[in-house]
Symmetry: C2
Subunit: 417 residues, 2 copies
């Protein structure tokens, strides 16, 4: 079977991808496009201009979620959502998120063109989307726009989220002109996201397409360690209540449990704030953002509880209190089985091998899954993710784009989807 993406559209995709990679480009080949930054604004402007140029209806909502509605002949008030995000980590890669948004734009064009060429109708429209603050790099929690879209987070709460400097998401969006008042005028019936894998499963197996059947369960905890300021010199050691020493103990406790268990969990402590952060004042308050992830919910839950108990016990002798500032649980939801089979069939029809896998990382489609069937498609990653050296080969991008277009075609035309 021939791919729906012709040479012209394929070239347009690569031109668009290169143009987007220029926005917020970092010296090491990555991008820095924090949500609400000028670079985020320019990325949104480029997407909006591209959508309008293709004849899609460009819409943005109150938290900056950006939609491109491709109205298809014959469809009523329903649509298949397809997209990802254009924001990045501070030293992010140029594929993460961006690939999924731009591939959706091109795949939607291909589906629309094929319907016209074959004189056919569709059962659903296609809505391309760029979700706000997927990364959670500047504002926590992550998956902000998609969570607001499905109602698990209110728009007011999202707009009030503050970054490390106290700037709110609302103010940041206003600054770049992307707090809007649009709403998507169709009812989404399922969501699809194409993404680079960010792990090494596909690369190791030598398979170009990942059929994502489920997500690892994730627990995100922000713990506040509360001690007391004192002079790092004369204060007797026994008199100190050292919040940074407590945080270090808790970090060690986390990795100790994960390694002793040997059950393949992933864990991290990657963000930290410290007060007063003077070399001569014992830290009075330290906050650490911890993450624990495991494919099995029960194992994760047990591990997280043992971590909390171990951290509390480890810091108690220091006279430091532990408070849970954030406790976010993302359950291990399986992806919609119908979607997995459509992607499997699409890949097979195009002659591409595929492999069932799970996602460890969070994705917008995971947030959306609470309200509609979700489908996640992976292409291989080389090297690292959340790193400027993140890389996926052009032929792998092309295969993913082909599979996405074929998947969307089947989703909007099949009688039973």
């Amino acid at each position: 079977m021939a791919a729906m993406i012709g040479e012209e559209l394929r070239a347009a995709f690569h031109r668009l991808f290169s143009a987007m990679a220029e926005i917020g480009a970092t010296p090491a080949g990555g991008v820095c496009r924090l949500t609400g930054s000028p670079e985020d604004g320019r990325a949104r402007d480029l997407l909006a201009a591209t959508l309008t140029a293709t004849g899609a209806e460009a819409i943005a909502d109150t938290v900056g979620n950006q939609f491109g509605l491709f109205r298809l002949p014959g469809a009523g008030d329903t649509a298949v959502l397809c997209g990802s995000h254009l924001d990045s980590q501070p030293t992010g890669g140029r594929f993460d998120g961006t690939y999924g948004v731009l591939a959706a734009v091109v795949a939607a064009q291909a589906v629309r063109a094929r319907l016209a060429a074959e004189g056919r109708t569709a059962r659903h429209h296609l809505a391309v989307v760029n979700w706000t603050n997927e990364e959670g790099a500047r504002f926590q929690p992550s998956l902000t726009g998609s969570s607001v879209f499905i109602g698990s987070l209110t728009a007011d709460a999202a707009l009030a989220l503050a970054d490390g400097d106290g700037v709110t998401l609302g103010a940041a969006l206003d600054e770049i002109g992307w707090r809007r008042d649009g709403t998507l005028p169709v009812r989404p019936i399922r969501a699809v996201e194409l993404h680079v894998e960010q792990g090494s499963v596909l690369e190791t197996a030598g398979v170009p397409i990942g059929l994502v059947t489920g997500a690892w369960a994730t627990r995100k905890l922000c713990l506040a360690f509360v001690g007391e300021p004192s002079h790092t010199g004369p204060t007797p050691m026994a008199r100190r209540q050292d919040a940074l020493r407590a945080a270090a103990r808790a970090i060690e406790a986390l990795y100790g449990i994960v390694e002793a268990d040997g059950k393949g969990a992933h864990a991290s402590a990657a963000r930290l704030t410290i007060s007063p952060n003077s070399p001569n004042v014992v830290a009075s308050e330290v906050r650490v953002w911890f993450e624990l992830r495991h494919p099995q919910q029960a194992i994760l839950d047990d591990m997280a509880e043992r971590f909390l108990a171990a951290a509390t016990a480890a810091v108690a002798p220091l006279g430091v209190a532990v408070e849970t500032a954030i406790d976010e649980r993302r359950p291990s939801l399986p992806f919609d089985a119908v979607g997995v089979e459509i992607v499997r069939a699409a890949a097979a029809a195009l002659g591409h091998a595929s492999l069932e896998t799970m996602t460890v990382a969070g994705h917008d489609v995971l947030a959306l899954q609470r309200k509609m069937p979700g489908t996640l498609i992976f292409v291989p990653s080389e090297g690292l993710s959340h790193n400027e050296r993140e890389f996926t080969k052009a032929e792998d991008l092309d295969r993913g784009l082909d599979v996405l277009a074929e998947t969307l075609w089947r989703m909007v035309t099949a009688a039973n989807v």
Copy 2:
């Protein structure tokens, strides 16, 4: 023997102390006067106005060191320096540094008045001083102004020091109008500093005056842990090079060595910077400011070397490199014996008990000691230091002020000093 500080001057001291405590006052009873901040500017303005009102010559130099020259009858081109600092920690106490500066202003007035009353001459002038950035809270290293004054740090290097936001000391001083071009027109022959103890030795012993005979040796190290950014989710644990995990191990290594040794060392890790500081990106670079202190140089040196070796060994399995960004050694120098005897005699003459002790914390007079005899006098502290609840009783402040005035009198009038 009657104290030189009469009721009027004593009341003036307490009024001045209260006025200064208002500048940068924090809700919990402390002060926040970071170097080069608007509050630091207002504190300097108050000191300058006070000096001018007392008839002293107010001078400030290129790094903002602020002098008040009390010209005494009969003196030539030499002076005894006496002062401390008006800058504070972010949540500092109102006594630390401020007491020494304001007591020096009042003691110098008392000495000058007594010379006039008795029709006597002095051998040296008195120069009151407020040293810039003693605390090192905003700009590191600490003791900045006094180090420039004695030539162990160049003015250019000091002015180029940058805070956490990249603002230089020079720019910060310009902002508040305190980068000046004055120089002290006399040659300092010794330096005296009166300070609250910040420890509990005097309070425990019930003695009002501390004769400081020496300083603990101090090693200040800023270590950079350099790993690589990656996604906290899918990146295999073995593939990560986690700089924060490395920093936590090094912090634990520090306290482990100090406690296992049981030799009474003081140690801390109180300032930390982290990059990129996103909850979803394994930290690629973490810097930690460590301090180790011990009365004996040899024990400190051995402990510091074992710490560096242990930290390097602990983080090596993580694939994280350790680089020494700052390595500052403050040797355990004894204070000038003549000065100690003058203070001992002054206290005895006033009927105040005194006790030989050492300073654990750094003080400007320690930097000055490299070039001139230095004398440090302590009064008791209650509670904590580098804490808004820092406290010294009024009667202890008064005793210290009396001893300082008597000490300065003896230093400027005695034939053999």
